[in-house]
């Protein structure tokens, strides 16, 4: 078991034990079990999956930015925005996705490409959590 802390600036922290955790890092998703090598990385927008250890039961969160700090007994996630299934609104997420896609497909010269792309990724992450 590994102890997990999710720390956000405006909410009280989540603190619990899990069997293993899958985190979307900037250079790809990675899984963390107990005894992982000490590791710090950035998070990209994606789905954070927590395995409780009971019959493959999982808890999923949409996560949009932040950092992970892993040492061999614990994992700490520092993020400004972590959303559980209850926090999300399917219609809004779908609309945000459509909007971002439309913007990316338009041939507007002063389009903030990076921003639109991030918006799309966030929307996709939210929808993935919702469709579990």
């Amino acid at each position: 078991m590994i102890s997990l802390k999710i720390i956000e600036p405006t909410k009280s922290p989540i603190d619990d034990q899990f069997e293993h955790v899958i985190v979307p890092g900037v250079d790809g998703d990675f899984g963390v079990y107990e005894g992982h090598t000490p590791f710090i990385t950035k998070i990209r927008p994606g789905v954070l999956t927590l395995y409780t250890g009971k019959k493959n039961q999982t808890v999923k969160y949409a996560i949009h930015d932040g950092f992970v700090m892993v040492d061999n007994k614990s994992i700490k996630i520092i993020s400004e925005c972590v959303e559980s299934k209850q926090d999300l609104d399917e219609k809004r997420a779908q609309e945000a996705k459509n909007r971002a896609e439309k913007r990316l497909n338009s041939s507007n010269a002063d389009l903030d490409y990076k921003r639109a792309e991030m918006a799309l990724k966030r929307a996709v992450a939210r929808l993935k959590v919702l469709h579990e």
Partner: protein, 284 residues
């Protein structure tokens, strides 16, 4: 001596004032609670970012990233002055302005960022240059607006426009005690309080990116914490100020009621004397 009607009117109006000050006290108390809760929530986040930055700074002493490097070449600096948007909170704003003037007295290359209307109203009349102002922020406090201020500061710092950024704000100690502090926010000085374990981490993508991103987050959350502290301190001082005002109103009402009764009795006595002496006159 004043007549009874005037006194009665005055008593009524002071009673109204008392009700208002009392209500303001209650409102301030509830807002204080909210700010305190937010401070508590922001604390662990700030702590962990601090720990991570400290670890990074320890490891890499020779070639520090600009955001952590406290050997400053650029002499220009920014002073961020955090005051309240409203008055009626005792000496809260006056004390900060006084401290700011004291700080600015023997410095030449300091520009100002004013957060809060009271500070802006004062400094716009002085010769200091205000490069940015943020008013009405404390009504609806959220992390996003604090973040945009932090980003603006970071941009100016990263462009090497300014070499140092200090924040002057009121730290919340207790309802009756506030503490005015100047804290350097950029370049970052991580707290040296507890010992960092010597674990060697693997960094992804690379150390510099991590330092910069973490540094940005650190500034975001530090500014947020300072604004919350200031808001809590403001509400605290408003609470005490309004409590005093309510008490004064009560004293005044007591005093005036006494006077009112005295005047009323005096007029009754005069009337009786008039009637009695009139009756006397008829008898004779």
């Amino acid at each position: 001596m004043a007549n009874t009607r005037d006194l009665k009117n005055r008593i009524e109006s002071i009673k109204n004032t008392k009700q208002i000050t009392n209500a303001m006290k209650m409102v301030a108390a509830s807002k204080l609670r909210k700010s305190q809760d937010k401070i508590i929530n922001a604390r662990p986040y700030a702590n962990y970012i601090d720990v991570m930055l400290r670890t990074l700074k320890m490891r890499n002493k020779s070639n520090l990233h600009q955001i952590l490097n406290d050997k400053i070449e650029n002499k220009k600096e920014i002073l961020v002055i955090v005051t309240a948007d409203r008055g009626l909170c005792g000496a809260f704003n006056a004390l900060i302005i006084k401290e700011a003037l004291h700080y600015l007295k023997d410095k030449s290359e300091v520009d100002l960022i004013c957060i809060g209307k009271k500070g802006y109203d004062f400094f716009k009349k002085t010769e200091y240059k205000i490069i940015e102002k943020y008013l009405g922020l404390f009504n609806e406090m959220d992390f996003t607006s604090s973040k945009s201020i932090a980003w603006n500061m970071l941009d100016r710092f990263m462009n090497k426009e300014y070499g140092k950024i200090n924040v002057l704000f009121n730290e919340f100690k207790s309802v009756i005690q506030n503490n005015i502090v100047i804290k350097q926010i950029l370049p970052i000085i991580p707290n040296e309080s507890d010992v960092v374990n010597g674990t060697d981490f693997i960094y992804e993508p690379d150390e510099n990116t991590i330092v910069e991103e973490l540094g940005r987050k650190y500034v975001d959350v530090e500014l947020w914490r300072m604004l919350l502290e200031s808001s809590a301190a403001e509400q605290g001082s408003r609470m005490t100020a309004m409590d005093n005002a309510t008490e004064n109103a009560s004293d005044l009402i007591d005093h005036l009621t006494l006077q009112y009764n005295r005047v009323r009795q005096a007029s009754i006595t005069t009337e009786i004397i008039e009637i009695a002496s009139g009756a006397e006159a008829i008898k004779q």
